[in-house]
């Protein structure tokens, strides 16, 4: 197999991994070494599915010893197998990097022979890349569950970010679909990396030149829609992971039916892209908007509203806290207004120190008045076109139009049909419209 075929096979096998971020660490370049890293990360291209390509994301090998039923690389699958040699992968990374195609390497691997052997192979590659080729760019490496903790630690000193995939949102689903993996095996390296990062932080205070352990933190991902967990369970798990394991990111991946198995959704099921989109919206609310998981979803509403994003949903259910006065409201409350994001909230905070804000001015600051107008006043005035006493009316008005017109496509995640909305339309929606309204962003 030549390098072109290998690259194709091993990229194909790695692409279902969602994370492709190069963020979290600022590492200025040093003379004589190729590369640097910037805190915000840099995307270098966007694939046809709209996902960012930031790192060279490949498997070292797809010759897996495990047999997880949701995975394309499982042992019993009939698919071409390939492995990179460390030299090939280093050459590829360097050549791509100096042409500004990529920001670094995302190294993952199927379990070759056993977890320890796989870890050794990855370690060899990274050592060659960092020490022999003097590569100073970003490296994301996947920890292999079940490997010797000493090896995982060594990997951490070469990598910027590490991740362990939690794969499925509950232990029950794991036993069902990935019999060789278990919650303990997955959480052990995650805890180890967290402790390593904390320990390293105190070392760095003592010695400036101490080697840095996973400076960009760790992330994880889970598959959505292959198993019957509710959105509330997933969101609570996410919040727990952020709090307990101090993760930088939790990624969600809508299940693509790539394999046929009696424990999995039928191959014809469309991937739950809208649900994934809602989960990311909620994830942003947790990380940047000061929301708690319990506020977004509760026992009575265990799933997201397909028609209303989580922030609008919260605002409509807490209409008694609105409207707020933009010229005086605290920043934390501004963040909770639908139509005001982190950027516009910060702009409002800085602009209102110098001038009194009116609606015209808010528009210039980037506030989406279409949604925000129901929840704010400017110098005591409101421009809400609707009476504010019935939250259901407001909810109807700020509903996402794209979905409302495709009433026929509406289903809750569990498959029960939602009442179609009464909407007069001059054009009957085509099947293509339905697909388009469901394509979300990762």
């Amino acid at each position: 197999m030549n390098i072109m075929e290998k690259l194709e096979v091993l990229t194909d096998a790695a692409k279902y991994d969602v994370a492709c971020t190069s963020s979290g660490v600022d590492r200025p370049a040093i003379p004589g070494a190729l590369g640097s890293a910037v805190k915000a990360g840099i995307c270098h291209s966007f694939a046809a599915d709209g996902r960012c390509i930031s790192l060279l994301k490949v498997l070292l090998s797809n010759d897996c010893a495990f047999d997880c039923s949701y995975c394309v690389n499982r042992r019993s699958q009939d698919t071409p197998r390939a492995s990179f040699t460390p030299e090939e992968l280093c050459r590829l990374t360097i050549e791509f990097y100096r042409r500004n195609y990529i920001e670094g390497l995302f190294l993952s691997s199927a379990v070759v022979k056993n977890p320890d052997y796989t870890c050794e192979l990855m370690l060899k590659t990274l050592r060659m890349l960092r020490e022999k080729e003097k590569f100073w760019g970003y490296v994301h490496v996947k920890a292999i569950p079940g490997a010797d903790p000493a090896l995982t630690e060594k990997l951490g000193f070469y990598a910027d970010r590490m991740s362990v995939n939690i794969e499925l949102p509950s232990q029950k689903s794991l036993t069902l679909l990935a019999p060789q993996k278990s919650k303990e095996k997955i959480l052990a390296p995650m805890g180890q990396i967290r402790d390593g990062i904390r320990e390293n932080a105190t070392d760095l205070v003592r010695y400036k030149a101490a080697p840095r352990f996973v400076p960009a933190g760790q992330s994880t991902q889970m598959i959505i829609g292959a198993t019957p967990e509710s959105d509330r369970q997933i969101l609570n798990l996410t919040e727990g992971l952020y709090k307990k394991y101090s993760l930088k990111r939790v990624f969600f991946s809508a299940y693509m039916p790539v394999v046929e198995h009696r424990n999995l959704p039928a191959p014809t099921t469309p991937p739950p892209l809208l649900r994934e989109h809602r989960l990311y919206q909620a994830d942003w609310l947790l990380r940047f908007y000061g929301f708690q998981a319990g506020e977004i979803l509760d026992d009575e509403h265990p799933d997201f509203d397909p028609l209303l994003d989580p922030k609008c949903n919260w605002a409509v259910h807490h209409i008694s806290q609105f409207p707020i006065e933009v010229n005086r409201a605290p920043y934390e409350m501004l963040l909770r207004v639908p139509g005001i994001g982190v950027k516009s909230a910060m702009r409002i905070r800085s602009a209102r120190r110098w001038a009194k804000l009116d609606f015209e001015g808010l528009k210039k600051l980037g506030v989406v008045l279409k949604r925000a107008r129901y929840f704010i006043t400017c110098q005591g005035k409101s421009i809400s076109p609707l009476p504010m006493d019935n939250p259901a009316v407001i909810a109807g008005a700020i509903r996402e139009r794209g979905f409302a017109q495709n009433g026929g496509a509406l289903q809750s995640w569990q498959g029960e049909a939602l009442p179609a909305l009464e909407q007069l339309s001059l054009f009957t929606p085509t099947p293509k419209d339905k697909v388009q309204c469901l394509t979300g962003q990762i």
């Binding site: 390098i3 003379p31 046809a48 709209g50 042409r99 500004n100 602009a351 600051l365």
Partner: protein, 249 residues
């Protein structure tokens, strides 16, 4: 008080500052300010403004101390943008600054400040797009890249590549403004002006590397999630012409 006059200057930042000074001397805002090579014809009488480096330096000091260093920075960067009537807008921004003082940079609801803010955001975003999407080609020993941005972004992106690729010889050519940048291993670097640049033929090694990248690019997309609109949103099609992954056949 507007004067029925159009200023013509040499297109440099110093020349523009002299136009600002000229408008102070005339005690009026001109109807327009344009560069020598500006193709636009006008019916107004034209006043030619000489570039005086001393005067420009004086104005720079004055803006920095009497308005704020931040406002000077905005003027400097604003001059790199492709904002419509940028000279006139910047002039009005400076005049407003003399009236309002340092808070001018924060008056984002004023029409001129808003327009400048928007243009600066576009400049910053376009510079970032080029940090992301600029593609080098290896011409056997040195790397070359051609870019076609709307704003003059080259001065804003070179420091990124200088530090990152300090082990490489490279050249970036900005076709729109016929301006280039040359960097040598070890840190020597310079800007230059050139109407046209002829790169050598691609080597076989380079062709293979580009083919590998195209294979990677195609394989990285998940079938069943195609989303051309999202891709265009993140990566405007205007930049595709200079990108390796779209140069096929």
């Amino acid at each position: 008080m507007a004067a029925n006059l159009v200023y013509r200057y040499d297109g440099s930042l110093q020349g523009f500052l002299c136009c600002v000074a000229q408008s102070f001397f005339d005690k009026a805002v001109p109807a327009g300010i344009g560069a020598w090579d500006d193709p636009q014809a006008t019916l107004f009488p034209i006043k030619e403004v000489e570039t005086d480096w001393q005067l420009a330096k004086r104005l720079e000091r004055s803006i920095t101390s009497r308005i704020s260093p931040e406002a000077w920075d905005m003027v400097q960067r604003g001059f790199l943008t492709c904002m419509e009537e940028k000279e006139l807008r910047l002039l009005r921004f400076i005049l407003l600054g003399y009236k309002m003082g340092p808070r001018v940079a924060r008056l984002s609801t004023n029409e001129d400040v808003h327009a400048l803010d928007k243009a600066l955001l576009y400049l910053k975003n376009e510079a970032h797009y080029h940090v992301e999407f600029l593609r080098f080609t290896d011409f056997g020993g040195f790397l070359g890249a051609v870019i076609t941005p709307n704003n003059t972004i080259l001065p804003l992106i070179v420091h990124h590549f200088c530090s990152r690729l300090n082990t490489e010889d490279f050249m970036i050519y900005e076709k729109t403004h016929q301006m280039g940048f040359l960097h040598r291993k070890g840190g020597a670097h310079q800007f230059f002006q050139a109407d046209h640049i002829q790169f050598p033929e691609k080597t076989d090694m380079e062709k293979r590397c580009q083919a590998l990248w195209r294979i990677y690019y195609d394989a990285a997309a998940v079938e069943g999630r195609e989303n051309p609109k999202l891709r265009r949103g993140h990566m405007p099609m205007r930049y595709w012409v200079n990108m390796t992954e779209f140069q096929r056949g």
